[in-house]
């Protein structure tokens, strides 16, 4: 083969060579595409399968009342989980588990057959159930201890504290509002794992915050007062056959909430079975027309503005007063002639109030209402607060101005009402209502303290003093509407109120469905307690003086008995007595430790040395009082006795190490 054929032969070889060069260039480009251009995406996916992050939350912080009484704490409860890869017969296992946990057998079987290495079977079971499970000694079924939220006082302040879900996440109330603080920073543990789910090397504890950073809350609530309030409220609701009600007790000097009770009650230990409506803290999430309890704020504004004096007389039109196209009457069709301002409050005259508001003017009246804190959130540290309803004064008709004067046509929340009354009680200063006194860490050290915060001065101290005097008359004088709240030896200032509910069906205020309230404070000369008692739709004793005032008196008597001296001091919080180390412990029914899941070796079992360096393994052994025979060097690849076998008897072990390369 020479000459021409040879030339063609070479040409053909050259074409083959060129073909392969093109193909191999394509390979390089493809590699570039896979590794450089889209590499990040694949890398993320790969890391997701290679790594397993375990988040270990520190034990949730405790919620204390102001005296260090625990309102919410955590206890350890057993949960059952399965490692389906170790279960041969899912149906049989499900049947056994169903018998103990009471869950449907089918659901369990489905769970088990659906998952690979880990699935929950039952969370936070009773000690008796966990004992039964332990006795079943089933392969692939394990018990793990999880912190469970526990509310030792049951429904006490239930709506305020709220509750946590299965995974210790706050879902309502303070538990939700301060979830981040109570929960603390999780300790993130990264495991490398192979495709069979086996842990590969010891976790690198990531540096996200130090351990036990969770905080406990100390509330301003006093569980003794709370208890007194709740039991009285319950009794009152039963007695008057009301739909419910709420009571707030506040320290007017500081704005601290001492008690806040809702009825019907809610037990956060059984949050799942409670009606959604009962979980709400209606004292801040619901608004209502305040009725006559609104009159003191009108009078305070008028006095502060100097448009009236206590002794100014107003003609009360003998019980029927026509404003524009509406005619106003007194409550219970009473008829009043000429009343002083003092008497207008004492007898709770609607027409007198309307006349005062006419003298004050709607713009100024509106300004004071806002300054007293109505129509805006108080920003108390509780979730779900609403602002209430206060229309701009420009939209008020003459009739509107008149109805607002006796508390209809304006909607307020209980917390707004109490705060506003506190401003009168404490000499004119609106205080920020607050319920969280401080954060403490796990050793009881105060981390952050919330000092009383004044919002603004609403009225002068002089006006406040004169208002207090008038309101004391409402309760103390013969014929006052608040006489049922009077106490022996202690002057009480207060005001009743019954607001008709707006009947949306008939588009008018209903005389059947009312909210009857009493708000007041004592002792008049140096007020320590401001209290609002509000009963929702009582069937008996519809008028504020009859339904709510006796409740106020009853609670006040108990308060006075308890606190004959100053209650402002807060006893220190008791030292935290929870063992910080006892977080998640694994108890396995069979001897073996599961290869996956939130597994930390049980103390009394042989630790899993595999993957440790010699030094780590020696330390791990030392921590458990084991002597270790080391063979080889590098990383531990095998051990005897096997990981997870009970320690009793064995006080030594042999671990083989091997270098990985």
């Amino acid at each position: 083969m020479n000459g021409r054929p040879r030339k063609w032969f070479r040409f053909r070889i050259a074409t083959m060579l060129a073909l392969f060069l093109v193909l191999f260039c394509a390979l390089v480009f493809r590699a570039f595409h896979l590794q450089i251009m889209t590499g990040k995406t694949y890398k993320t996916l790969a890391e997701k399968q290679h790594r397993k992050t375990l988040q270990l939350y520190p034990e949730r912080g405790i919620i204390y009342d102001r005296n260090g009484e625990k309102l919410a704490a955590s206890i350890l409860a057993d949960s059952v989980f399965a490692d389906p890869s170790k279960i041969d017969n899912a149906d049989e296992a499900a049947a056994q588990l169903a018998a103990v946990t009471g869950q449907p057998r089918k659901a369990i079987a489905q769970q088990i057959s659906r998952s690979k290495n880990f699935c929950w079977v039952a969370r936070m079971i009773t000690p008796a159930q966990s004992e039964q499970i332990r006795n079943l000694k089933m392969e692939g079924i394990y018990l793990i201890q999880e912190p469970k939220r526990f509310y030792p006082n049951r429904e006490l302040a239930g709506q305020i504290i709220g509750f946590v879900g299965m995974d210790s996440n706050g879902l309502e109330g303070l538990e939700m509002r301060y979830d981040g603080y109570l929960r603390g920073e999780p300790e993130k543990i990264l495991w490398g794992r192979d495709a069979r789910g086996k842990k590969l090397y010891m976790p690198e504890r990531s540096a996200t915050g130090k351990k036990d950073e969770q905080l406990s809350l100390v509330l301003t609530l006093d569980s003794r007062i709370q208890h007194a309030v709740e039991s009285n409220l319950k009794e009152a609701v039963l007695r008057t056959r009301a739909r419910g009600g709420f009571i707030i007790v506040m320290d007017p000097r500081t704005g601290e909430i001492l008690a806040m009770a809702n009825n019907p009650v809610f037990n956060p230990n059984a949050y799942a079975s409670a009606a959604a409506d009962n979980k709400r803290n209606k004292a801040i999430t619901d608004c209502f027309d305040p009725g006559s309890t609104f009159k003191p704020f009108l009078v305070a504004a008028a006095i502060e503005e100097g448009v009236v004096k206590e002794s100014d007389r107003f003609y009360c039109e003998n019980g029927a007063y026509r404003v524009a196209n509406a005619t106003f009457h007194e409550a219970n069709r009473k008829r009043h002639g000429v009343l002083t301002v003092r008497e207008i409050l004492k007898y709770s005259s609607n027409i007198g109030s309307v006349k005062i508001s006419e003298k004050l003017g709607r713009e100024k009246f509106h300004g004071y209402i806002r300054n007293f804190g109505f129509g805006q959130k108080t920003n108390i540290e509780l979730p779900g607060e609403i602002a209430g309803l206060l229309r701009p004064w420009q939209n008020w008709t003459q009739v509107d101005t008149s109805t607002v004067a006796f508390g209809q046509g304006v909607s307020v929340t209980a917390i707004q009402l109490v705060s506003a009354l506190s401003a009168i009680a404490n000499g004119g200063l609106l205080m920020q209502p607050h319920i969280v006194k401080k954060f403490v860490d796990s050793s009881g050290e105060t981390v952050r303290e919330f000092a009383p915060t004044p919002v603004r001065r609403v009225i002068s101290a002089e006006t406040a003093r004169r208002m207090t005097a008038m309101l004391t008359n409402v309760v103390g004088e013969q014929g006052g509407t608040g006489k049922n709240a009077a106490l022996v030896n202690v002057d009480v200032a207060g005001k009743t109120g019954t607001a008709q509910k707006f009947d949306f069906a008939h588009k008018r205020f209903s005389s059947e469905r009312v909210r009857t309230s009493f708000m007041g404070f004592f002792p008049s000369e140096n007020p320590r307690f401001v209290m609002l008692v509000s009963i929702d739709e009582p069937q008996l004793h519809k008028w504020g003086g009859e339904a709510a005032a006796p409740v106020f008196r009853s609670i006040s008597q108990q308060l006075i008995r308890c606190f004959e001296h100053d209650i402002g001091e807060t006893p220190p919080v008791r030292e935290k007595e929870i063992n910080a180390g006892a977080r998640i412990q694994l108890v396995s029914t069979p001897a073996a430790i599961p290869a996956t899941g939130a597994a930390e070796e049980e103390e009394a079992a042989m630790p899993d040395f595999r993957g440790m360096t010699v030094r780590q393994a020696l330390k791990a052994a030392q921590d458990r009082g084991l002597t270790m025979n080391v063979t080889g060097s590098g990383w531990a690849v095998s051990q005897r006795p096997a990981a997870g076998s009970p320690l009793k008897g064995h006080r030594s072990c042999t671990v083989s190490f091997s270098t990985g390369d």
């Binding site: 032969f9 083959m16 060579l17 590699a31 896979l34 590794q35 790969a46 192979d194 495709a195």
Partner: protein
């Protein structure tokens, strides 16, 4: 002027390239198979030891074939085909043939198994080189230059399809057609035969469900990422994890049971993860150089038999490398085919070494052609 035909030194560049590939492959086989071997055989060095054993045999074969006068191959060319057929037939004898993963591809040789198709590949190349050289005068004829050689080749190919080893069958056909092209068969015959073989291949694919699955998986691996698409997706993840520089030799995660067959067909994915784009480029460039040297040898060898043999062997190695590399990168459907010199596998290593031995032998027979001049 011509140098003496014999006595030139072998192509050391080629030898060096091959040794680098083998060394790298051995390291990677150790890295990728350690955990698997520990798990399966309780001995992390299990695959490494076996591979080193085969390597000794392979290198011995390489040097033997390098020393031996290559004209000897012409004498065994027909015998080689006969032996191939006997071996392929023997696979179907129970007790001698070994079935793995649903395919009868191996002969039981006592201490190890032998994948007959690997040897057949070289035998076909030797046969074609010899036959086409003899018929060089009639190369443009339809019968002698095309039909007869192709028909002979298709006999062992039929056996291989039956095993089944569709990938090797396609490879042998492609190599055979390429060798015919280089020998000078009319291109229109070759084009016609390709057109005729495509429907055959398509029907073979359609006949077997798993081949169809592989094709569909190739088109869209993410359709079933947990099962059918699992392997190729894991390969992509390996490539992506490696990035430009890799995670470091031995530090890859994908070999920990994520990527099936990390030490055999998918060893390049492990290389991609552990040594990155740099490592992949190195491997591809090494294969490119190997092919280039192979064709240079084919260029320079004096006689047609040597030229055809050198081209055929080069094409064989090039195609094997391309099919594997393109497969693990998702450019073509995955085929259970080893990457020469890098993948674990005794037969593949030994046969590849033998092929390189022949190439090195041929490189000693080239006439020295100064650059730019035509002989």
């Amino acid at each position: 002027m011509q140098m003496p035909a014999r006595g030139r030194r072998p192509d050391f560049i080629l030898l060096f390239i091959v040794l680098v590939l083998i060394a790298f492959g051995t390291v990677m086989i150790y890295s990728s198979s350690y955990m698997l071997a520990l798990q399966k055989y309780n001995d992390g060095y299990f695959f490494l030891k076996k591979q080193l054993f085969f390597l000794v045999i392979g290198l011995a074969a390489m040097f033997a074939l390098m020393r031996m006068p290559y004209t000897w191959l012409r004498r065994v060319a027909y015998a080689g085909m006969a032996v191939s057929l006997v071996l392929l037939a023997a696979i179907f004898i129970p007790g001698i043939g070994v079935t793995k993963g649903g395919a009868r591809r191996w002969l039981n040789l006592g201490i190890f198994t032998f994948q007959a198709a690997e040897l057949v590949k070289v035998a076909v190349v030797v046969f074609l080189a010899h036959y086409l050289t003899r018929k060089s005068a009639h190369i443009q004829e339809f019968r002698k230059g095309f039909l007869v050689p192709l028909a002979v080749v298709m006999v062992p190919v039929a056996f291989i399809v039956k095993q089944p080893d569709f990938g090797s069958a396609v490879l042998i056909m492609a190599v055979a057609l390429s060798v015919l092209y280089i020998a000078g068969t009319r291109v229109r015959y070759l084009a016609g035969s390709v057109l005729a073989l495509v429907p055959v291949a398509v029907s073979l694919v359609m006949m077997k469900g798993y081949r169809m699955d592989r094709w569909n998986t190739f088109l869209d691996p993410w359709k079933d990422p947990q099962h059918k698409g699992f392997q190729i997706i894991q390969s992509f993840l390996s490539f992506g994890s490696g990035g430009p520089f890799g995670v470091g030799l031995g530090d890859g995660m994908q070999k920990l049971f994520y990527l099936p067959e990390p030490h055999t067909d998918f060893i390049l994915s492990i290389i991609a993860e552990e040594s990155g784009f740099i490592g992949i480029c190195a491997v591809i460039v090494l294969f490119g150089l190997l092919i280039f040297r192979g064709f240079v040898i084919a260029f320079r060898v004096q006689d047609s038999f040597g030229s055809l043999l050198a081209s055929g062997i080069t094409i064989l190695l090039a195609m094997e490398a391309f099919i594997n590399i393109a497969g693990v990168m998702g450019l073509i459907p995955t085929k259970g085919m080893a990457l020469p010199f890098l993948s674990y596998g005794g037969t593949s290593l030994i046969v590849s070494c033998m092929a390189v031995g022949i190439l090195l032998n041929l490189s000693t027979h080239q006439k020295s052609t100064p650059r730019g001049t035509v002989a």
